[in-house]
Each structure stands twice: as C-alpha cells, then as structure tokens.
Symmetry: C3
Subunit: 138 residues, 3 copies
C-alpha cells in the first residue's frame, strides 16, 4: 500500500469565498503515483469546508446568500461562542457544506462524474489556513 500526504495553503482576502482546488488535488494524485485507491481531502480548520459541487459563479453566490440565511453572521452577539470571537456562524456554515470529500481513484485519475469539482469553502478568512490531501492505494 502506498500513502501520500500534502497540505494546501490558503489565505483568502475576504471573510467568505470558494476556491476550486481540483487541479491541486490532481497534481497530488499524479505525484503520489497511486492508480487505484482513495483520496481524502479535508479542511484542517473548523470554520472551513471541502465539498464537491459545480464550478458556476451564480451558484456560488446562491450558496453564500443561502448559508448566510441559514446561519447569519450578524448579530455577532447572538452566539454564545462569540466571546472574543466573531466566527460562530462559520462553524455552522461548515457543518452544512461539510469538512471533507472522499474521492475514488481509478486508473490513476479522480473518478468523477461530468461536473464534479472539489472546492475549498472559507467562512472565516483573512488568515492562513490549510487543506489536507491524503492518498492511499496502489
């Protein structure tokens, strides 16, 4: 069994945003040499997500408005977590969008449907944060 590990770093200039990380995960897979197996891609921080969906700018705006409706940032004082912090909403947005994606590796490629793309979802940006790519297989 082979294993491979790499961290991807992000520092988004705004509080919230989505970044397509599919090419970076594909580069990890090529570097790993794994042909059959699984890749785990997970946020290493708890106000961020890794998820798979469509790379379409209108949809990303819809996601942002929708998450803000389900778990609004303001009023910051509405959350007990926000004592010296203001990111409680980010912890909730991350639960809806998810921490991780597990993707099949077949024939040395990400085994994806036609529109699947991997995203980093940031809900408390303006700081350095990481995603872990872990690959196991043969």
């Amino acid at each position: 069994m082979k294993s491979f590990r790499k961290e991807l770093w992000f520092n988004l200039p705004q509080r919230r945003g989505f970044v397509n990380i599919t090419p970076k995960v594909e580069a990890c897979l090529a570097e790993s040499g794994v042909r059959e197996g699984l890749v785990l891609v997970n946020a290493m921080h708890i106000t961020a997500s890794v998820f798979i969906n469509d790379d379409e700018i209108g949809l990303h705006q819809d996601f942002d408005l929708w998450l803000e409706k389900l778990a609004p940032h303001k009023p910051v004082s509405g959350y007990r977590h926000n004592v010296g912090e203001d990111n409680a909403d980010g912890h909730m947005k991350r639960q809806i969008m998810g921490r991780e994606a597990v993707v099949a590796i077949t024939g040395g490629k990400l085994d994806f449907g036609p529109w699947e793309q991997i995203f980093y979802g940031e809900f408390d940006g303006k700081r350095k944060k990481r995603v872990l790519v872990k690959i196991i297989g043969e």
Copy 2:
C-alpha cells in the same frame, strides 16, 4: 490490496425521490470479494446525494418537505444559478443530505448498525444519473 468499481444508474420519473440502494451495494461487495476494507458510495452528479438513514416512508416525506423549506424550488428566479436552468435548489438540498457515504467492510459484510440503509437522493430527476461504488481492501 484489491479494488473494485461499479456504476449504478438511475432515471427517476419525478424531480425528487429517495431510492434504497443497499442491496445493490451489497451485491457489489459480494462481487468484489473484499472481506476487510472500505466502500465509498457517492453520487456522480451534483444535484443528487448518497446518504444513510432510515427506510421509512413517513420520514422520507418529512425529509422532502423539510428540504423544500430550507431550500425551496420556487421561485426559480430567486437563484442566480437559474439562467437556463431551474435546479439551483437541488445543489443546496444535496449539500444538506451529502454527496457520499463511506462504510466499513468487516468479514465480507457492510458493517452496519441495526437501521442503517444507503439511499440515493434525487433532487433534479427525469434524466439518467449515476452513483459510483468503489471498494478497496483485502
């Protein structure tokens, strides 16, 4: 390490629906010959889900009403994604229900609690769509 891959195809006659795919995943597992390992079951499309919950018709009706409340289909014009499309709500419903399930394989069986069943969740049906079953182990 053994690996196994199969696609399951669906074409639901309605926009939304839930299908118990546990027997199909069990058939894949038997075909794979894997006794210890992991099975990844994921929607290959981004307005569909694979999730594990109860096979109870009342609950599925509750899920449908609840998802429609959290991410309503109408008004279609309320979503920026819906330019030539009408499925933005399906992308959101899929985030709540999830893209994938990872299930342990122990002694050649899905290692499940008493009520766990695997479902395909459709949120933009009336077309052919796929689920991927990927098994790794020994």
Copy 3:
C-alpha cells in the same frame, strides 16, 4: 494491509448532547498499530452523528439552538415519521451534522489541524447507542 474495528458505546441521560470522543479514537489507533492509512468513525444509529469541530461549550450550545431552529423537536405531530415515535427531528439534525468522519493517519497519529476534535452528537438519547471505529492501513 491491516484492519482494526471497535465499537464505542454511549448512553446519554438527556435527549441531545455532544461528547468529545477524540481520546477514544486515539486509543483505537494506538491499539491498531497502523502508521499510515485512514480511520472511519461513524454513528451506527440514524439519529446520531459523528462530526469534527471545536471543543468549546458556548459553540455546542449554539449548535443545539441552531439545530432546534432548523429542525424543531416540537410539535412532534408535525412529522409523518412520528407515528409511535417522536424522533423525526433527530433524523434531520443528524443529516446537517453528518454521519461520519474520515481522518487521515500519518506517522501513527490522527493527522489533524490545530483545533480539530471528533464528537459524537446525540439527537435521541436516553438509550444505548454505538459508534464504529474502522481503521485500515499499514
């Protein structure tokens, strides 16, 4: 390839609650002897979750209020699932918080960011329920 399996048992005195199970998962990992691989941690029951987030009591209170807002327990009669049951809301809360976490194992340790902790989330307690820990790797 090595594999390891253990069940963790819970019996929470209240309907809802969160338990940090990271030390128990770490003990499983030490017992497994796996140095490189993946650990799957999943609720074996369908009104419970395993998720990764912050071990902060204010946040857990926020989560509880937020989940109760998105999928309220009462009125119990508002759910079709609740015929002889009263836990439909628990099935929904579990979808938002998720069934499982998959964590990378690197150098014999859980490969975590600075604040990641694994939680058992109970949404229909006062009974014995289980979490499965499945480890594969080398």
